[in-house]
Assembly symmetry: C2
């Protein structure tokens, strides 16, 4: 008996060591936040008490996935296989329960009302004479979400005793938009598009299910696989068969497929002479096409449309409104329960119409004119995912319209793949802003979750940063952006810091000596890039042609509103853009308390200053510094912050496997080089405009301005130039 125990002990050690070695080999980031590393004692013993076996009564495809995840997760973390049984045989059983199919729910009279079709309950209870943990929901997918939630409890080292977790999503459509072409060019900074159309529907690459699993683990329930500059081929039978195969893979994970649709598809595919949304033949074409799509995908989610924007066609061409354009598609989808998502990213060629005003000007007159299955998808800011923007005034500005939020999970303007930039902190800044749309407390998050205007159909969309790179996102810290997008889409009121801590614990280690510094770094990363790129409300200072590298001198783009100089407004006298009543009057699109604060130089937050005001270089800031000196200090501070991030990361070496540590170390070094590049190019340019000396402590640029200009001419593609 004693020998036997010793044997088992040694065996367990051996296996654990082998497992550890195996894991170490595989630390290429592919496992994301679902690594399920062994929990050390005595914590593991605690968890084992409430994870002795898994009770699964009826195994639907989704419940089978929940079961597989729990077996994989609990076995991996607790170091013993988990048996699956049809009924509880011992204390510590985990019971999966679906309303109407599980005795546990009725026996325990669990309060299932109000959980909807995606919420869940995790409750410790005594059932059939055993102490159990019930994961209960009204639907299979609710149980799946609950299973991931239960696993997270252990991954982040929370107790699993006396559980009473009740959770449900606050937003209905939590959707990833993939900006991927049919030839697999992905705007994700992480490799090719995941979707291998050339081999679908025959070959269903295993990565499709892995991707769906990761999404399900954070509650994402919708996917648009094709880019918003939609290729009409996607709606031909040949491609619909392929899309249907993807939908089949995604379905058990609770994920619906949507498609980007092109407004002119009736012409290109249908051979019609017009795509006028009010033309009866066009209406019929869309209705027929939608009916056809539902024969391939019975639970098709709906369409996403980019219209009248950046060269994409739209209803404007036929003198119709955006509502006319949206409603014809919405009507076609309605009988099937489909949803039409219409992007608010519309802007015209009128050079006298401040670009940041246009979406509001176009959509607020249409408030109330959209069908009830239409969502208008609005970017977080009025411009285009800049390092910082004030929230879009459409949040709160269209009370009778279903307004959804669109954010970029891909860091198009924020360092591409390499920079450590935690977007959770960025999004939280937007979400926690008060719109005052219905008085104080009308946070953007509360507009988005529907509570401010009793909006029933809600949406949170993220432009995906996911590609074929082995680590899915191009860097480990980019994974945090995918993760935090899912968590904030589930609950826009959630704390970015808590989410970061959960992610770091699951992705690396729950050791608090690691979590503290790494979460501080993630939260600080948000300001670092803003500082060296475009502080104090500057925007759009990127190189022309691609969004990589600084070009504050840029004045050659064909449209004035694509030129960096138009967004910094810098001249001998000062800097900034006047968007107050004396300027473009963009500020008036906000609710009066917000507009008043942005207009008032005494009350406006420094971080939005130059977005709203053109000010002289010697303007005295709240800090006591002149605007010039403060601007220079911000550029410099961005570099200092990145160097702090490097130092923090270097000290965390003991907590991180070699492979991921090395990659992040190199990426931080690249970020530092680019931060210096931005700082110096910014300083060189603005100094050439202002003619002012640098404040003490700010070093002059390494090269003259001409050097930075010459460098940009070499940058045909966005590549690291050093």
């Amino acid at each position: 008996m004693t020998m036997s125990r010793a044997l088992i002990g040694v065996l367990c050690l051996a296996i654990a060591e082998f497992a550890a070695a195996g894991m170490a080999r595989a630390e290429d980031g592919h496992e994301l936040w679902l690594r399920y590393q062994p929990v050390s004692e005595p914590m593991a013993a605690h968890y084992r008490q409430s994870a002795s076996e898994l009770v699964v009564a009826d195994k639907t495809p989704t419940i089978a996935i929940a079961q597989e995840e729990l077996v994989r997760g609990l076995s991996g973390m607790l170091g013993k296989p988990l048996s699956v049984v049809p009924a509880a045989t011992q204390d510590g059983a985990v019971v999966l329960a679906v309303t109407g199919r599980s005795q546990a729910i009725s026996d325990l009279r669990l309060p299932m009302a109000g959980l909807g079709d995606e919420g869940f309950l995790i409750r410790s209870a005594t059932w059939q004479k055993h102490k159990v943990t019930v994961i209960a929901a009204n639907t299979d997918v609710g149980v799946l979400y609950g299973a991931f939630r239960y696993l997270r409890q252990i991954q982040t080292r929370q107790s699993t005793a006396d559980l009473d977790v009740r959770d449900m999503p606050r937003v209905k459509v939590r959707i990833l938009n993939h900006w991927d072409t049919l030839v697999r060019f992905g705007a994700n900074a992480a490799g090719m598009s995941l979707w291998d159309w050339s081999k679908l529907p025959a070959w269903r690459d295993p990565m499709y299910a892995e991707y769906a699993r990761a999404n399900a683990s954070i509650g994402i329930n919708a996917v648009v696989p094709n880019q918003i500059n939609a290729e009409p081929e996607m709606m031909t039978p040949m491609y619909l068969r392929k899309v249907a195969a993807l939908a089949d893979v995604f379905r058990p994970y609770g994920i619906k497929i949507y498609l980007s649709a092109r407004v002119t598809a009736p012409i290109q595919l249908g051979g019609l002479k017009t795509a006028d949304p009010l033309d009866p033949a066009v209406k019929k074409w869309w209705a027929d096409k939608v009916n056809e799509i539902y024969t391939y995908i019975p639970d098709f989610g709906g369409f996403l449309v980019k219209a009248d924007s950046e060269g994409e066609p739209g209803p404007n061409e036929y003198k119709r409104t955006q509502a006319d354009g949206a409603n014809v598609l919405a009507d076609a989808l309605k009988p099937h329960g489909g949803i039409l998502i219409w992007r608010a990213f519309v802007y015209s060629n009128d050079p006298n119409w401040d670009r940041v005003k246009q979406a509001y000007d176009v959509f607020t007159p249409l408030d109330g004119k959209f069908r009830d299955n239409v969502i208008v998808q609005v970017k977080n800011g009025p411009l285009d995912f800049q390092p910082r923007e004030p929230f879009s005034p459409l949040f709160g500005g269209a009370p009778k319209t279903n307004i959804g939020m669109e954010v970029e999970v891909v860091k198009e303007y924020l360092g591409g793949a390499t920079h450590l930039f935690y977007l959770g902190a960025y999004w939280q800044e937007v979400l926690e802003t008060d719109t005052y749309a219905k008085g104080k407390g009308s946070l953007v998050a509360s507009v988005i979750d529907g509570t401010v205007f009793n909006q029933r159909l809600t949406a949170f969309a993220g432009v995906a940063n996911i590609g074929t790179d082995r680590d899915w996102c191009g860097s480990t810290f980019n994974q945090a952006n995918w993760y935090s997008f899912g968590r904030l889409a589930w609950d826009p009121h959630a704390s970015a810091r808590v989410i970061a801590a959960d992610w770091a614990a699951m992705t690396f280690t729950p050791d608090t000596a690691f979590i503290g510094p790494v979460v501080d770094t993630m939260m600080a990363s948000r300001e670092a890039d803003a500082d060296f790129m475009m502080p104090l409300g500057l925007a759009h200072q990127f190189a022309t042609g691609h969004h990589y590298g600084p070009e504050p001198w840029g004045d050659s783009a064909p449209r004035a509103d694509w030129r960096p100089v138009a967004y910094n407004g810098a001249d001998k006298g000062g800097i900034g853009v006047n968007r107050t009543v004396t300027g473009t009057n963009y500020v008036s699109q906000y609710a009066p308390p917000v507009a008043a604060r942005f207009s008032d130089l005494k009350r406006i937050d420094d971080k939005y200053l130059l977005w709203f005001h053109h000010l002289p270089w010697d303007y005295r800031m709240k800090s006591g510094l002149t605007l010039w000196d403060e601007l220079m200090c911000h550029f410099d501070r961005g570099v200092t912050e990145v160097r702090k991030m490097q130092k923090t990361w270097a000290a965390l070496k003991p907590y991180v496997d070699e492979q991921r540590f090395a990659k992040t170390t190199v990426f931080l070094a690249m970020q530092e080089s680019e931060a210096v590049w931005w700082r110096d190019a910014n300083i060189a340019y603005f100094q050439s405009v202002s003619g002012l000396p640098l404040p003490e402590g700010v070093a002059p640029p390494a090269h003259p301005l001409s050097w930075y200009k010459a460098l940009n001419k070499e940058l045909k593609y966005p590549v690291y130039p050093f």
Copy 2:
């Protein structure tokens, strides 16, 4: 003691099982043929006798790689750690020995002369009172090659007792050409380009070293990372820094970097008014540029050039010869020991000049006019990597020119990623053909390896099928093409069947019950695709715009020599292209015995028949069938062969892990669908031309010809259409 042994036994079992489980999880093909799976007893015991420890005296970067590989391989296969020692301490030591640095070589008087700088010797001997196996070479890379060779001995279950292996490459430059753009579009059917220029030189992705290791394992010693339609940016300092970082990674693996160069670079980068190769400023520009490149990459290999072809500029524009164009670059490279590789794929717009004649017509008058560091790189056939072509008459046709061979490892015309098509069999068919250039026995292989014409500078180039797909090549069986390319470049006289058997043993299992059928299938795959696509010497029957799917009716391409109808010559009266003396007289480019055989209907091999002859439908074949009936039977037999391959593969399930088995199964099913598509489209079209009935046993097409024509119009991209 007994308990302890039992304990160890159980432990070993446990670890082995865990390892097996771990391996099973990881069977995604990433490990290629370097999997090092455990050898079962008693074979493992045999191998352990001659692999007790590893003796490494001085650890250069390359020797360190050889050491790591042997430790990894022997530990993995023999189930015990391998210790590394500075001198032999026991019998069974493996000794790494480099001429001039190793006592073993002098002590044992090993015959190192003639091994050159890449050959090696593996010899069992007694040294310093121990039985050892010496892996000896004149250079570090020779030892690395020997290490892989020694490991292969075990991987393929050959004995390691009494070894006396002496091997060296027969071809000097064994080079992969990557047809990859700077934005990472790879023409490899296996994902993006491997080279992440956006993050180089700072970030050296671990896959670069993994790729170099795989190449070294099969003797590939040169790489061109950028496409032949060369982008001039590649030669700017920004990119040269990136290329230099790649070169640093490749160097210890014995791999040199070459670059594709654009003939007009002096204009585009240098600002010159001309790229005339005889212009002194142009010569100086190239000399300066080459000198600059060598400051970044001291062992830079040289240039690869595509000129005067498919829109690429070339010396013709300046009324200069291909030799003029090549020599200016060769002169610039010469002082550094660099090599200039000039592609023979030149053809003009002259519609009266049979395209397959042009390379020979252009290059043979220049024979003897190229510098001695120029290699003219000639495609295996005179057209363009078709399912079957006669060998290019430039093999044997230019005795005073360094002629290298170029093959496509990527299956551009052979089913892209999915089809099982073993190219080793295809290439062997070319290599073993007799050119009669210097009488009987002047095999293409002997031209290539330099023996026929005493050619000192030899080359074998493969257009790479390697991309970012997890399994590198898009399918497991595509890996066999990378592997066999390396093996045949090392020795063009090697047997494709032996190579296939080695590959299958290393990639799957050395079980002979598996190897036999899978090698038969690989060898048969070569004829299967030729049969259903274009048997009897037909060529270029692919859809216009991309090379996916059948279009024998194609007559719309802008150039006559891009149109399928020009290559089948089918009309009411018959089919084929007359390239005999009464036709285009292409046949006269061959040595007289070869020309005579191709011209003689009695002696020509059926497989080249319609390449050389236009014949009536009722022409009586050697089989006794009419040409029409035989053609139809070939189309049909291709499908039958694919179905046989499916059946064989299905029966091999017990030998293959689930993941790779499933993927190959699906790919074979796709190949079968496409085989039916080809057969039916071919039959439908040719029947519309001939008006003849199908022979017994050949089923009519599933659809009318119009259906296949309509399908092609939907195929904007090469995607699986079913």
